[in-house]
Symmetry: C2
Subunit: 331 residues, 2 copies
């Protein structure tokens, strides 16, 4: 059932089996599995996550390579609802562990927000990450290319850079190291700092040895049309020819709501999980980009399968067995 600020009250006295924060590929896969195990779950989706922005999902078995992320998200939301999951557009503010259940506080509505609390036995964190983008005066100019010909993931889109002139935009020196993976796909790499950080001598020398120019002036604007990059203009007037590029500036992790749970184990901003995506808290699972591992839709979808199945096993094994009563001979 789709919940909203109008009807959520039906569910605030309810104990869900599982609340899933995040309605991307991982969270929705978990919801589809949980619903088909007959468990009651609620997906809380804040909107506009990483899969929403994905323009073309090139490498997922069964979908055309021009399928946008928002289509898979829309279709999988319908799948989850069809099998009986609940779904709410909202932002998870806080998760409190009450011992036998979680209290999940959700912000509903951007203006005059309300903050209902929902309860569940298990909790799945699947809110993912969002890539930082270069900051320039006209952000619309960035959005015109980011996710189209200016990529954020080499695994997804390195192939589409093959032997093309490309920029690599970093936010700190260590992120320039991506050039030495990106060069598998193209050696024609110009590195841009957008005027935001200093580059040390060792990295300068490494770039020079590979022939990759380093440009340290701020970016003025991206050039091109119809989402097809043709170059980058810098504030000092330099124009860099490039038809593709990689933005490698790190990511914002949507995991703040978990920071008050002491049992969790972190590796930087990633949650450490076992082979079923269970964190070091036995009733909290983490999927997709929030956990350690490769950030791919296929991995998030499998994570949803694994977490959903493990939670079902736990709940099933703790439940009394269902008998065919009329057949049992009372002695």
């Amino acid at each position: 059932m789709k919940l909203s600020s109008k009807n959520y009250g039906d569910r605030t006295d309810y104990l869900y089996d599982v609340i899933i924060a995040g309605g991307g590929a991982g969270g929705l896969s978990a919801a589809i599995y949980l619903a088909r195990y007959g468990l009651k779950c609620l997906v809380i989706e804040k909107g506009k996550g990483r899969s929403f922005w994905m323009q073309e999902l090139r490498n997922y078995v069964g979908l055309e390579p021009d399928t946008p992320g928002r289509k898979i998200q829309k279709d999988a939301t319908a799948q989850a609802l069809q099998w009986g999951a609940d779904y709410l557009a909202g932002f998870v503010e806080d998760v409190s562990d009450l011992g036998d259940r979680f209290a999940v506080k959700v912000k509903l509505g951007k203006k005059e927000s309300i903050y209902p609390v929902f309860h569940s036995k298990y909790f799945i964190a699947a809110t993912g990450i969002i890539d930082f983008l270069p900051e320039i005066d006209d952000m619309q100019n960035v959005y015109d290319y980011a996710g189209y010909t200016l990529h954020v993931c080499l695994i997804c889109d390195g192939f589409d850079m093959w032997d093309r002139k490309a920029v690599l935009i970093a936010a700190r020196e260590s992120q320039i190291e991506a050039a030495f993976v990106m060069n598998w796909f193209t050696p024609y790499i110009t590195v841009l700092t957008n005027g935001k950080f200093e580059v040390g001598d060792a990295m300068r020398q490494k770039l020079a040895e590979h022939g990759y120019p380093l440009q340290e002036a701020p970016i003025k604007r991206f050039l091109g049309e119809d989402h097809h990059l043709s170059g980058v203009e810098l504030a000092d007037g330099t124009i860099i020819e490039a038809t593709t590029g990689l933005i490698n500036m790190g990511s914002k992790y949507y995991n703040q709501y978990l920071k008050g749970i002491p049992e969790l184990t972190w590796d930087g901003e990633n949650l450490v999980t076992d082979e079923f995506c269970q964190t070091s808290h036995p009733r909290i699972f983490a999927l997709g980009d929030l956990k350690k591992g490769i950030n791919q839709v296929s991995i998030a979808v499998a994570d949803g399968t694994l977490a959903g199945t493990k939670i079902w096993r736990n709940i099933r094994r703790a439940a009394p067995p269902r008998k065919w009563e009329e057949n049992i001979v009372k002695t």
Copy 2:
């Protein structure tokens, strides 16, 4: 490129980066990733595997729940070919480890077969399993229901058995244990041995305590129409009312071609693998149902991502870095 008995000769002198045995969801996912990493791979598909027989793939993110397995297989084959993978309809007979490469012997054609040998640096085993079905005189009668309303996987289809009268068909006593998982979905379970094995006293008592009848006569035929089961008729004339059921008779593993590789570690018929689906042989990977773990399309697809990415990393790290030669100042 699609290979056949007409044109395979173009590739027999060729060293592939990877040969993938099996063109189901896992093998094709690996092929899509490998091709998009710019690696040369060959998929060898024998046809009519488990995903081919799947009538409705209910729980895969992004596909309508009535999508048949053969559609996802056809579409993903086109995806892999589009990105540059080679594809051959054939049966992998044998894999020999020549130290720095594998020699993969393939049977082409059912009549007047020929046996070309292909070579690769890495090998991926993704040939999966096929479920054993109950043997009766008229096997077409079994095929009319198996995969439709008579299922082979509780994770996939348990939901569709909810509170319905169901049969559980086993091939040996230990497989009857599935009744005590299946009863999460329905308690109205009749257990059938198809007259093939004896059941001990402890199991008889456990079934009686749950109220699940045990029928030990051979199956004469499945009743119903248009793939909708209505019951099962036994050789002794008994008619069991049931609209669904689970066939839990074990599986045939397509892994014979690997039995001559001494480095592999087996758990029964499953290959033991690490978190990237690498077996204990550093250049052999195993995906999906062949490896230990949950047998689901979503898992096989992620396995292809993991294996493809790990192989790319290995090959990339061993390759000399590509430089932008014209920019390098010779000193």
